[in-house]
Symmetry: C2
Subunit: 323 residues, 2 copies
């Protein structure tokens, strides 16, 4: 991802220059900890790219890029509590390391800090518009997380509801980051809306890709053994599609496996059924459908072709990860 | 509090007309639950009064009043988790009734919703200023909560740090509500600043009053038996002042009692020591100092005397509650 290096570098410099690092320590150390765990910084980079499509001075949007990254990390901290996750990017999660209360309160202050960064943009005439986009996506991310938790308990989950859930939980932040960047860069509402559509569809495709890689990925390339979602009984696209296509006996087996705890046999049996039902092909088709929609939207964005290519290549690279 | 009835009524009507009440239900039912538990709605009423001081059309500020009330309730939901509190206003707390995850996520969405209400003000030229006041107080409330939790573990807490903590945890929201109202009503920065000072000092006095009532209040009038703070080993002004004034033996006893669990004997002994050391007088003096500062600031506010009287009477009534 050589071509996005200037955007990544600009963001890293901004991040390094803006630690929380204040009193009271027990509030801000956990916030700095999660922000320092790294990651691709995809969302802020997309926001800067959104700006750059319409205006070269993408540095002006760095506070907004920071807002979306801080917001994203706030969601990680609180989601990890709700999911009782012990690890995040190979390190202890915030609540695991600093305790439940620290996780809750550090998350809260990060969410507020995200709004402070939006105010630091010092773009008063754009602020209401930017805030509207941000508020909306922030609410939707919470709604997506709630749907995800609801699905864990639900008897039946429809594929369309699953797609809605991943749209809210994952995609709208990517889409909103691009849209905010576009608006800050002086892009029209129409172009900002098209970029939002691009991001929304890329985000869904990206999550479907994740579902596929988890089951069928090459462990060497994905970096973890296959079947993690199966082990955790996660109702992914693959599971839901198999329930839709399986015969009554297969459905009953699948449901039984997804009520049991992890075992090598369970993963093997489930993967066997998915292969028999050709689930991977359906998932690839769904992914490609969203991917095509994404690129169609990008094509219609009125911006320089050389600039749009950056987004196309970045999305392509993310979506073509070796399976 | 007859004279604030129009402001309370206007807020209640707005509140009734704006339930969360949306899908997904498991996200919004807990939010509506806490919002429906009642309370004096002091903060939104103060915001409307702040507006009214400078402009009669206080209804225009209802979305901001809603923002501070939603924010206040968000802090209650998350604080109750952190304090492991089972009851709030005589009802089960949100996490007690709906579970930990519901409490975390409902709180999050309420915080975001508060920002949405500020945007609904539709006052673009004032928005950056209002957001700046709101962001600042929101961050400070989190910092106050962290200080409060830190003090539970701390060996020594200085009285000035305790006063800072209650200022952040309790007062800045009251002060900020008044200031936001004043700015929205067209008040000058100077007048808005004076109202902030009024609210900040009233808030601290109010908390000291709470500390006093908890130990020395008439159970019939306060509505709970005395010594709740002592039972919970809360390091209030009374405790800290007794540590400051007691002889080494008394200090040692006090510390020992505040490391032990609740018993009638403990409360009796601690109250006995506080009476001996005349702690109540010191607390009343401190309270009166903040109260005087509050009224001094209010006096300097450039607004109609008949309107200022509303605030003076409201504060007076809150601070003169029967002990």
């Amino acid at each position: 991802m050589q071509y996005i290096q200037p955007f990544q570098q600009a963001f890293h410099d901004f991040l390094d220059g803006n630690p929380f690092h204040k009193e009271p320590e027990n509030l801000y150390v956990p916030a700095d900890y999660i922000m320092g765990l790294g990651g691709k910084r995809l969302r802020p980079v997309l926001l800067l790219l959104g700006h750059y499509l319409f205006d070269d001075r993408f540095h002006d949007s760095l506070p907004a890029a920071m807002a979306v990254e801080v917001f994203h990390n706030f969601t990680l901290v609180h989601d990890d509590i709700m999911d009782a996750a012990p690890l995040r990017r190979g390190n202890p999660t915030v609540h695991q390391r600093f305790g439940l209360n620290a996780g809750i309160l550090a998350g809260d202050v990060m969410l507020i800090r995200a709004y402070q960064y939006l105010l630091e943009l010092d773009r008063p005439h754009l602020l209401p518009r930017i805030l509207d986009v941000f508020n909306r996506l922030a609410i939707e991310v919470c709604e997506g997380q709630q749907m995800d938790m609801d699905f864990e308990q639900a008897e039946e989950v429809r594929i369309e509801d699953y797609l809605k859930m991943i749209e809210l939980k994952t995609s709208v932040l990517i889409a909103g980051a691009l849209k905010m960047g576009a608006l800050l860069g002086g892009g029209s509402e129409e172009n900002a809306g098209l970029l939002y559509e691009f991001g929304r569809n890329v985000g869904i495709a990206f999550q479907l890709q994740d579902d596929i890689l988890d089951a069928f990925g090459d462990p060497e390339k994905v970096g973890k053994k296959p079947g993690g979602d199966i082990a955790q009984n996660k109702k992914t696209f693959l599971f839901l599609k198999a329930l839709e296509l399986g015969n009554p006996e297969e459905k009953a087996h699948l449901k039984a496996w997804f009520s049991s705890s992890d075992s090598p046999e369970k993963i093997e049996k489930v993967l066997g059924l998915w292969e028999k039902l050709d689930i991977r092909r359906y998932a690839e088709e769904a992914k490609n459908r969203f991917q095509d929609q994404a690129f169609l939207a990008l094509e219609q964005v009125g911006a320089e072709e050389t600039k749009k290519r950056l987004l196309r290549e970045l999305a392509g690279e993310l979506l073509m990860r070796e399976a």
